[in-house]
Amino acid sequence: MTATVTTTDRAATGGPLLSVERLSVRYEPKRHAPTEAVSDVSFEIRPGEFIGLIGESGSGKTTLGTALLRLLERPGRISAGRIVFDGTDITDLPEDDLRGMRWTEISTVFQSSMNSLNPVLRVDEQFRDVIEYHTRRRGQQVSDRIDTLFDMVLIDRRFQRSYPHELSGGMRQRINLALALAIEPRFVLLDEPTTGLDVVVQKSILDNIRRLQAELGFAVLFISHDIGTVLDLSDRILVMYGGRIVEQQRARDLLADPLHPYTKGLLGSYGDPRAETVTITYVPGRPPDLTAGYTGCAFAPRCPEAIAGCRSVEPPLLRLGEHGGEAACHVAALQRGQGERSGVGTEEVGPVVRGFAGPQFVKTAEDERSLHDREVLLSVDAVSKTYLRRRGLGTTRTEAVRDASFVLRKGAVTALVGQSGSGKSTLARMITGVESPSTGSVTFHGEQGSFAVGSRRGRSLRDYRSHVQMVFQDPYSALNPTKTLGYILSRPLANYRGLRGAEARRAVLELLETVALTPAERYIDRFGYELSGGQRQRVVIARALAVEPELIIADEPIASLDVSIRAEILELLNSLVRDRGVTILYITHDLLSARMIADDVVVLNQGRVVEQGPALEVIRNPQDDYTRLLLDAVPNPTAG
């Protein structure tokens, strides 16, 4: 608490609030090779500054955040460097000394809103304990403070006496934000505070953060994998890759003149869904394996601009931009005449390119196929689904879907768009026959004639399933970790097509080729956990393809993937439609991805279809307010 006295003086002198000097964090597990998750990271945060820290999963951003909070647990530890908060070196500060600074100076909001409140304590008690411990407020004063905090995050005060499980994800995360501000800290670390929340909810929370930060003037380090959510909030952006900071620039400079190809790749994965032509790029390959170690630049294997020097010399973080922007990239250094300092002398490089020179996925207005002459594969007619939940003696009715009608045409992609709770997944379950509609009907027009899906049971349902396959959101839990890819893919082949032995193996290899996991021989004996998220999702898609379905239902297939690789999966789905004539029902909350692959869009709000039509028309000229709301919530840094 003595720190509080000295801080005011220092803030006045304009020194940094938090400075990180050549920080490295190593994980040294007993049975595995050690990993340097964070290497040689330096940066400063000034009082009141808003910094965005961007990186994909495995880039070390969360480890860095945990280290700053001094919450690293064994086997992780700070192996080199210093963390100085307001003049106090907190790198090795004993926990007892640190305690006085926690929450009064440094607070945080964690990634998963589901779990960061104690489930057995009422919400207000979790405010009360920390306020009473750190301040002299007691009784009514504490209650008043909690009231103020709830008002700040726009949550009704009556929820103070709720238990966490009684609140929605968005409310919990707002409450976490309020909790972080309870004792007016000068630094708040936000670790992916909106990941996993709905786009619309996400946008309102981000607005809330922005407003509170402007009012209260605390400094923020906002960690995210999604540059789109932080770019317009941040003063400055740090980009992390493979445990290092590869670029550091003012937000608007980064947008105008990204230095590192990885940054360009990240920016390239966004687009304006309303534009005539939408181009999004993706970064192929997978993040570096930090246990194996590497020489040169960690990004080189995935970099379209890489030169010979990138693979041998590690690029230092150099000042390359006009306004003090820094990047660790030989190519960027050479292009700006700094090759000597970067350590690659005078190697030849091309001119500066602003975009990511890697693979891209383009959708123009002309691509829009005319579909209305196509046959209908599946029709949803006036479908409603009401859930009755018994509660004691009474029952509550939840109308998940109300009077929804639309058709899926053969060889077309239809996007079912809506935020969580809009009834998307319920519709998907009725289309796969897992549930039947309360009223209305789902009719499948297959090769053996039409039939109502809901009436199918047992064998005939199984038969129907061979025509309809699901691809789920989370490729990490969709693959049995104890089985090889060959085995996983051979199961549906044996079950539905009766293929065994050499025949099955040939089919498996073919499937792997189809989803571009090549050479297929190299993948057939591997396990799901050895693959990157994008590769796993490819395997899941391959498994769906194994039964040669006519319809694939893809439920948020890219939502849990890193932004930089999302387009890769979209392109794969697109090629399946083009080459194999598969019909896809693409379920999403994200209108950009809907625009990229869908021919038709059906917008769902609270169980009702509020708008439907050709994708381009609906997205460029939305008629319903809800569609507009969804469009506005699409993060798009490039729109500026």
Partner: protein
């Protein structure tokens, strides 16, 4: 409130099912208890005298009438606490015998279980908090080792060491030279006799709680709300107890209540070794001497105890975990 009423409703329903099963299952068993009794009295190879058998039947009150009317009779007698006459303690009624043994076991077991649970959970929580430290390693190793030991064997060691060797405690029975009742002589006598059985159980029972609590708590310590509590700068004691242990306790509480119900069976061997006048020994005897009325009553008692324990566990869970209240209400 609805939650609690529902739970109580279930309890009553299951109780009825248990009572009914307890009526029908013995009737499915082969052999006639009266014949067996005569045989026991007369020797294995003796001829059965039908008159003797009939006399025994009269004495025991062998039921007549249809199964249905027998069932109603049975329910009526249960309601009056009439379980018939014990074969081994003839002419005493089953309820009388059980009534005498009941408090011996209940007091012993309650003290042991409550202490074991408290000690076990605290040790487990502390081991988890200091996980991978020296204390944790020691506690885990010792618990695992002790967990493999058989209680009756420990009992024998204790009798040998503390009973015969040092002569500190009585080694068998429940009391000796005092009159049962609330007087100091008797209480002292009972404690002296009960100490070794209690100690035996105290060595074995906490093990499960230690390991269970430790493992749940280690998982809980990784939860975000515990990390957040640390980030809040709350003192270790608050983080460990209010955030981690409070949540880790939930499965243990259910386990504890369930264990209380099953405890009767666990005391058979220990009570037999110490010749302790409780229900466990009674059950051992009843099995040995084919004392059907006694067995039936003890079975029913065990079942009711288990059910009660379940009910308590459910109710307690509702109090401790706000999520359970809503999810099942």
């Amino acid at each position: 409130m609805k939650y609690f009423l529902r739970k109580v409703g279930f309890f009553v329903l299951t109780l009825w099912a248990v009572v009914t099963l307890n009526f029908f299952i013995p009737r499915l068993q082969p052999g006639d208890p009266a014949e067996l009794m005569v045989q026991k009295l007369a020797g294995k190879n003796a001829q059965l005298n039908p008159a003797q058998v009939a006399a025994i039947r009269d004495m025991l009150g062998t039921p007549t009438g249809s199964l249905w009317s027998q069932y109603w009779q049975y329910l009526g007698q249960l309601a009056h606490g009439n379980f018939g006459v014990s074969y081994t303690y003839f002419p005493f009624g089953v309820m009388q015998v059980i009534g005498q043994a009941f408090w011996w076991t209940v007091i012993l077991v309650t003290i042991v279980q409550v202490l074991s649970f408290g000690i076990g959970v605290l040790l487990g929580a502390f081991a988890a908090w200091k996980r991978n430290g020296r204390f944790d390693t020691a506690v885990t190793l010792v618990s695992t080792f002790v967990g493999t030991l058989q209680p009756f064997w420990i009992a024998l060691l204790l009798i040998y060491g503390l009973g015969y060797g040092l002569g500190w405690f009585a080694t068998s029975g429940g009391y000796e030279d005092s009159t049962p009742g609330f007087n100091w002589g008797f209480v002292y006598d009972a404690i002296s006799h009960g100490f070794l059985p209690a100690l035996t159980l105290m060595i074995v029972t906490p093990v499960g709680w230690v390991l269970g609590m430790r493992n749940t708590m280690v998982l809980n310590l990784g939860e975000d709300y515990v990390r957040l509590a640390k980030a809040k700068g709350l003192p270790d004691k608050v983080v460990a107890l209010r955030y981690a242990a409070r949540n880790a306790l939930l499965p243990s509480v259910t386990g504890f209540a369930l264990a209380l119900g099953g405890v009767l069976g666990g005391t058979i061997l220990v009570e037999t070794v110490f010749d302790y006048p409780g229900l466990g020994r009674l059950m051992g005897e009843a099995v040995g001497y084919k004392d059907y009325p006694m067995l039936q009553a003890l079975m029913l008692l065990t079942a009711v105890a288990t059910l009660l324990a379940n009910l308590v566990a459910d109710l307690l869970y509702g109090v401790l975990d706000p999520r359970a209240r809503r999810a099942q209400a």
